[in-house]
Amino acid sequence: MTSDAATATPAGGVPLTGTTTGTVNPASAAEPQHGLGSSLPPADALAKTQGTFPYAADLWAEGLLWAAVLRSPHPHARIVSIDTSQAVAMPGVRTVVTHQDVPGQDTHGRRVADRPAFARDVVRHHGEPIAAVAADHPDTARMAAAAIAVEYEVLEPVTDPEKAFETEPIHPDGNVIRHIPLRFGDETVTGEVIVEGLYRIGRQDPAPIGAEAGLAVPRTDGGVEIYTASTDPHTDRDLAAACLGLLPEQVKVVVTGVPGAMADREDLSVQLALGLLAMRTGCPVKLAANREESFLGHAHRHPTLLRYRHHADAEGRLVKVEAQILLDAGAYADDSSDALAAAVAFAAGPYVVPHAVVDGWAVRTNNPPSGHLRGEGAMQVCAAYEGQMDKLAAKLGMDPVELRMRNVMATGDLLPTGQTVTCPAPVAELLTAVRDAPLPPLPKDSPEEEWLLPGGPEGAGEPGAVRRGVGYALGMVHMLGAEGTDEVSTATVKVNGPVATVMCAAVETGQGFSTLARQIVQDVLGVEEVHVVPVDTDQPPAGPGARGRHTWVSGGAVERAAKMVRTQLLQPLAAKFGMSTELLTIADGKITSYDGVLSTTVAEALEGKELWATAQCRPHPTEPLDDTGQGDAFVGLAFAAIRAVVDVDVELGAIRVVEMAVAQDVGRVLNPQQVRARIEAGVTQGVGAALTEHLRVSRGVVRHPDLTAYPLPTALDAPEVRIVELVEERDVVAPFGAKSVSAVPVVVSPAAVAAAVRAATGRPVNRLPIRPQAAVMTRR
């Protein structure tokens, strides 16, 4: 097995060594021990499991101060005055900052700079930061923040996205962030059979296990270092530097261990507050958000309203899809434009549709902010188009699987955006795989097994009232940034003796990038011990960790750099042996010629030298959607089919997901263990979105921002995830032929659960999460 390899050495922490002995169960005996295709466990797995891994909330510096942020209690209000005098006068308080103290640009944002660092004249959502305090004790800081007197003139909040079009703009940029009117084919065509539906998707929260935290340390050159669990450190650095009035080089973001990331991990306002407070006080400043601040501060999944009309012929072939999609973006633009592009482009799903009329809007409201969260845009439309397919099947009297089979997309078909699907699209194969998988046994067939009823082991479930339902869903998601985003990544590989080191600013968010980087280098250079250095912004940018892009671009960059090192290593040998470098192989630290005659070790070949190489990977360019929603906007697509089996207590409306059978288009399995883990995690998150996860808001105010009122799936709620098939059709343009794994199950699972509940109860189920009253069959 591999020797100890420290992949994550959080700043200030001790280097972590994970002893990686054979504790994982490999899928087959033939699976390699290391390199691509092996189930190499993460180097930090042991430390994380034992709780010794230091996260940002564990950081400490000599003489540090504690920060607290004052957040708006109102979703919409005019700030009449802010009086900090009482807070400043409190003993132990070092400084208080408001919008007046922001030295640089006073607004920031990923796409559009429309979000103030601290609210100036207006607050636009519950929890918007207004001021920050640094004090010598966390309680003092919180009390001082509470002592800041803010006079508000409360305004009527805009909470209904449908009303956002008419109301007074809540932001100088207007309420409509983006409108995409997609027109494809002939608008006037109609089908023999028409089904209509209205669907609502709730507000899912990323709810990372570790809340936001960070430490800022002032530098002698006037700059600042920010230690935080950022997933896109270079963007965060640039935005923070602009607001702090510094050059990007004066701000260094150091990435600590990431305690869960399903989205853009850090609320930038925390980093701004920390940076500002550290610069003002000249002391290190730490902030650890509590769960409530975490819920209020970070971005959520876009609550979405979808109106659909599907046209089909009598044989069930789709003729036209009409859709209106309304995304509630919250008060600031953030990534809503990207989410909308995905929603509109995938509005018809992985089906061949000759004609489409889709209108999508992302609008501002005073609800909590929405942004990037795994499968954004794609997940909401999947629930709707799959609901429509079930409706269409019911109207035609067809089997839902058969109807889908007649319409599935394949390589070479067109998306409604006019883009040709050039990557593998084995949709029919995926659907066949889940259809043919054996169903889980009914509890009556296995009397010895305790039947876990909906409602739980101590619940009120009654076997006589339980109906079982089976539902199918297909879905798709795009990989990498869309619409012309420059998705470049840079990586450096160094070999010194028997040890290789990877330097790449791709953040290990739990998605397994650092393990993959080790596998790639093991594969190319035959070196077992590979270290991945911690990420900071002194390294060249690698971009955000989202949409499977690090496997693609950062993995690609690591591979290229490793291959360059390999050439440097082998060229002198090849010259000596009188053969080309291609005829030499490296494995287990040994270099061997093709005929096995010549052999030497990597360490010997190096002759004490250190070899370095840096390379970039940039996928082929994309273009923005034009004003009719047309354009080659996506680099690649990934697909999945899921069959959900649910038990519903039809008198109480209690639902338990028994099994989720997944067939997924993965391109190539690079690490079987991680692929399984990612699919299980994605399915569980999708089941959460289908059944329980919705952040409740009343008139713009978040209700109960805690994990009791926001029920995440527990071990009892999480279904059995059966991976039926991983289709490995390599995507030729991707560096390893591998596709994004994490997002597709999140996109498809909610739709599959809804379909199964429909099958069990005969109720329409057009709202997620599914409320118990929607799963009740009326008695008598």
């Binding site: 101590e458 109480l652 009892l716």
Partner: protein
Amino acid sequence: MLPATLDEAVAALEATPAAVPVAGGTDLMTEVNSGLLRPAALVGLGRISEIRGWEYQDGHALLGAGLTHARMGRPDFAALIPALAAAARAAGPPQIRNAGTLGGNIVTASPTGDALPVLAALEATLLIAGPKGARREVPVSHLLTGMEMLGPGELVGYVRVPLLHAPQTFLKATGRTGPGRALASVAVVLDPARRGVRCAVGAVAPMPLRPLEAEQWVASLIDWDGQRALAPEVLTAFGDYVAMACIPDPPAPVDGGETPVLPPAALHVRRTVATLARRGLGRALA
């Protein structure tokens, strides 16, 4: 402060009137940790061994207020007071059940407290310890409805529960399969000696509700000396009776206008209560 006896605890509370007693801390400490509550001092009740067990007392069980949910959920306890054991087992994840206590559940008096409908159905009596060895008895419903309050320096010491030697059920509906707060819960207790059925509904109101008329009606239909089982229609009618009593229709307006309708969410709770009461009674009589 960590007193070892009930009287020491009472004395400590009397000496420091601003002090707050803490048992399992599952409710109190979350408030303290989130900064909502800043008690001047805490009196820990965890060392008072006399209130962490139970004893028999002329046909009753005298339960210590410090009994944890985990302890009440065990089979020996379930044989004595099945509904209370079921409520304790449903009261949350193991971490909460290991710490949370019976007395804490009563004093916190959360609408979703799982033990409360069971205690209401059992017509339990609280033994309250006061300063200078004073003891007084208060029906649990008086405390939960606010008819009587705990005075300064007073602590719930014991809970006296009748031993009925008959089936009891506690059913709870939550939004998920894992542990969660009750949307509605129903406790049904049979009292063959007094030929009575007692039922309490939790989580739908600030305190458990007793549908007294429904109890009396259904008790009159049971053949107490023979097969107790009732026809399914009777069970259904009982469920509806209980649900209508706990979640009544809004009154018709006096001016004869249109009768207001309950919102769908309230109708769902009513339907849930009806189902739970029907199932609970059915299982108790089976």
